[in-house]
Symmetry: C3
Subunit: 274 residues, 3 copies
């Protein structure tokens, strides 16, 4: 399955329209290029319609929200929906401020997302606040461990059914779920949380992978997360060999994405179906 | 010629005012520093006049346009013109949206640019839309190859005469032209298109090189492009040796700019006069 | 003293709210993570109150000022003051434009800063223009050398007393002063001025160090500056060994921050009390 998914990305080289934060935007662009796709960053209301239209996917990330770009996100998402392009949401910091939480709910009300990727806290914020269950607490632990994994998988499947989106919850253990099945990924390295942008980059790569694999969205998301995690493992190995630190790790992480092939992926992937 | 050009940059250490996009702004600043000059990023209308005045060149890049910064670009460009500072335009994505195209035409109407650098598509958009020939297609191929090179050189010379700017068209083969002569540069490596920002960085370096070499603008642009291309070749060689990927390539590319000297340049340059 | 300071940062992992420029924001985030703390970038007026409240320190940097974010800076600073969180000011380019200078004075009028860090030119701009002495020239040289050091130390102590802030003046020789004592730091490497963002990163690290060491603010600032300088020395050594340039230097600088431990610090620090 992953072989076909990788091949589709490299052959179709999808164009991803990104409206994202200014902290990690350069990493996002380089990660999307590294995985074999192309990014376009454009956030002005005057041009998002045209830009979205020439792209194959739309990636919305609320990492450094401001009122100007929220309107651009809404417009881009609606156009992408009308064109049946996949739209990916990264709700960075949803729950941390009313502005972020409210904006997330508004985005969910006005746009149909193919994939929502966040940490467990962000995803729970979405679950409890959006749609009909507003105000109801998500019945799932705040941290995904081997003990709470089954509970979290069930939660992700239910949420996928409720929102009609693929749900990706990333952390020490990653879960990707649609309403029928879930993949559990145990790749990655703790140092990924010692650099900024791993989540943002990952969501950008997911957008590229889904755009090139619309028939297998859940598997495309799973492949993207596995590649990111495996690149983190390989990057950590390299900085250990060279006695380097977090910034070299960031470089090698993106290097890993750019050099990933099916043999490396098959040799290192730790993916389980639940 | 290149020896004197390099020496002037290092001795004069020009200060370049940049109004550029937030995707690659960090790379632009580091590339300008690497080549021996200094950058100042400032885009608020309240301060662009003062900042432009203390600088030696103004670099305008429309990579992530928004309405706020367009007015700052216009103002900075006009002040720079009045002070006889060189003004460099990088029309990123001109042709991809009406907003970008219209802004490019407005910039060209209100500001005299010393150098315009873009890919063939952006440059053709400018040619067909600006000034008296609006609506007339540029009579040149969409891709510069050995077969279409002479045609493209002629086009660049004509365009230089029409706009009274040095025209730099970059791609697999690069062309730098004024109305009388053109330089063809065959340095560079395809991996330069696998990272974001090579074009933006290059335009920033061009601004520094022209500021320090106002008597030889066309040659200064040619030197900057040759250095960038050669640094790309050296960077690719290094990642091959180390089995690294695109992010290491980006690092080595900027390293190469910072370490470039006249012997390396003379040993590796592939420049032809047409 | 430094052992306890480092330990506090690693154990408390302070959360730093940053309103900073878009040129070096990614480096700032990665540097704060590298030193053992966590950054949150948020600059919209709608959310700064909530974000500041959940953080342990507020870092304000005027590197790419615009009217929208100035109001967010004022609001965040006031909230942080009311919560007794440390607030750190990096007055990038104060003195270079009226907008920057006036904004700096307004920030100083409305917010109590725990630490102000800048180069001698920025610090002098603050001294001469703020409070009662507006218009009076700072009686100190424009460059700190061994010859002008005593004079500069006295100036820094006086300024600390006047503004009730720890004053950090960085350059070839660094000075950290409160009204009673000053530390002189001779770590660092000239190549730190050949990349963008060393000052911005340093101020972010200072915010983290002060947040975790509120009982020893002056020493916390001194530790942060020493770590940055020493990481620069180690980074330069590494690029010399590998024959690399300025971009590799940036990587190794952040690597050094992420790997800094008390033995390395004690072995390399060059700190004197004045």
């Amino acid at each position: 399955m992953f072989e076909k998914i990788l091949k589709n990305v490299h052959e179709k080289t999808p164009l991803v329209h990104c409206i994202t934060n200014y902290v990690t935007v350069n990493d996002v662009a380089n990660a999307i290029l590294a995985c074999g796709a192309s990014p376009i960053m454009a956030d002005d209301l005057k041009e998002v319609e045209e830009i979205t239209s020439i792209c194959n996917a739309t990636y919305i990330n609320i990492g450094t929200l401001n009122e100007r770009t929220v309107e651009s996100m809404i417009k881009a998402g609606k156009i992408a929906n009308s064109l049946n392009h996949p739209v990916i949401l990264d709700p960075v910091g949803a729950g941390a401020s009313k502005f972020r939480t409210d904006t997330t709910y508004r985005l969910l009300d006005e746009i149909k997302f193919s994939v929502i990727r966040g940490n467990i806290s962000e995803i729970k914020t979405i679950y409890t606040g959006s749609g009909k269950t507003k105000g109801v607490d998500a019945d799932v632990s705040d941290r995904i461990t081997e003990e709470t994994l089954d509970e979290a998988v069930l939660f992700a499947k239910n949420m996928s059914k409720k929102l009609n989106s693929v749900i990706a919850i990333t952390g020490a253990i990653d879960i990707v779920a649609d309403e029928n099945k879930a993949y559990v990924i145990r790749n990655g390295h703790p140092m990924m949380s010692k650099i900024t942008g791993t989540g943002c980059m990952l969501s950008g790569i997911i957008a590229a992978f889904v755009a090139a694999n619309m028939e297998n969205k859940t598997e495309a998301v799973t492949a993207a997360i596995t590649i990111m995690g495996l690149s983190g493992e390989l990057g950590y190995k390299k900085i250990e060999e060279n006695n380097e630190g977090t910034s070299s790790f960031r470089t090698y992480l993106i290097d890993g994405i750019s050099k990933m092939d099916i043999d490396t992926l098959k040799g290192g992937m730790k993916v389980e179906i639940k």
